[in-house]
Assembly symmetry: C2
Homo-oligomer: 199 residues x 2
DNA sequence: GTCTATAGCGGGATAGAC
DNA sequence: GTCTATCCCGCTATAGAC
């Protein structure tokens, strides 16, 4: 892992773009963060849009393997859910800005990001998960529930608290440090909550 | 309700700001949407920042009464939760961009918005809700759970699917129309899911 | 109160030396 | 490959007539 100029730019750009979005981010700021000159950005990435898309692709590259590793296993559904939450929430903890970035950018400009998104091998995972849920219902292991709704529930419970950290900690009237303790506990807490609801 | 110029500006600005955020929004675009001249914006609101803050305050004014009306009742907790979800999800359906806006802006610039947020009478509601939950646990009506976690869960389940509509509908591989049907069903779905988990 | 015209500058992008 | 210098457009904001 040599720290090439290209990598330094990509890392700096990732940080700034995730924090401020494509409109708020300044090329100068990215150059400063990378410790290089502004015009060198244009040498490696033609323009801001190109750099932005590179950042996005680079960032998703980290996300998908994390998902795959968990959902692909052949454990029973409830264990899979626990494993998923443990790993997924942990992943988000180390990339806390990522969910918000993805949500914001897909909202503002669906085509731009969803194209890149759809290239990823996310489809099979999703199908697999849905059929797991349906089978589990057939066998009477869990209560009947629309698989789509269950998936939405699990992802909502995992992701939203990170996305809404400032609002939620203000709303609950607790400090950020205390809120982060709550978040850490959610790996187990949410698994319990979901499984309780299913059995 | 006379449609004064000031109101026309505020409405137009709300629409644009919610959609594009303070960086992406253009004063020209807001003027066009309001059907007036660009410099008239500066006549009514000194500068972009002032206009932006006015929009935010104006928009929160709608949100808080909606919360208050539900959480203030004295029904039993599970009914309260059902009522909350029915009304809150309905509210979001008519203001689908609002949650995302609040989340984005409090993330990017916590001081700016959380100051305005903290002026609202949100505190008492929150305390009331927490003590309701604790009492309900004491009476053995619901399983023990950290009130903060339960509140986070309920809000996550309500809000996140709207915030992440483009990502989720792409991830689940269903169209927007079909996804909206899922969302509508969530008023009952989520209540069921939460109450199942608690009893 | 509402307009036209324009100032002023921030920031993306390019030219060209080294 | 990396830099300095600069162009130039877009956008906020203001001046000033009506």
């Amino acid at each position: 892992m040599v720290n090439t100029t290209q990598e330094k730019i990509l890392n700096a750009a990732t940080e700034i773009f995730l924090l401020k979005g494509p409109d708020g981010a300044r090329m100068q700021e990215i150059a400063d963060a990378a410790g290089i000159n502004k015009s060198l950005l244009h040498y490696y990435f033609r323009d801001k849009e190109t750099l932005y898309l590179s950042v996005f692709k680079n960032v998703l590259k980290d996300l998908v393997p994390a998902l795959t590793s968990v959902l692909g296993s052949d454990k029973p559904l409830t264990e899979k859910i626990s494993d998923f939450l443990e790993l997924y929430i942990g992943f988000i903890q180390t990339n806390p800005l990522l969910p918000h970035f993805i949500v914001t950018e897909t909202t503002r400009n669906p085509e731009r990001l969803l194209m890149a998104f759809s290239q990823l091998p996310r489809q099979s995972l999703n199908d697999r998960l849905k059929s797991d849920i349906l089978k589990s219902i057939e066998r009477g292991e869990i209560k009947p529930i629309d698989p789509n709704q269950l998936i939405i529930n699990i992802i909502s419970l995992s992701v939203f608290p990170f996305i809404a950290r400032p609002v939620m900690s203000s709303f609950l009237d607790i400090g950020f440090a205390e809120f982060d303790i709550l978040l850490e506990k959610r790996k187990k807490e949410v698994a319990q909550f979901v499984i309780n609801s299913l059995k």
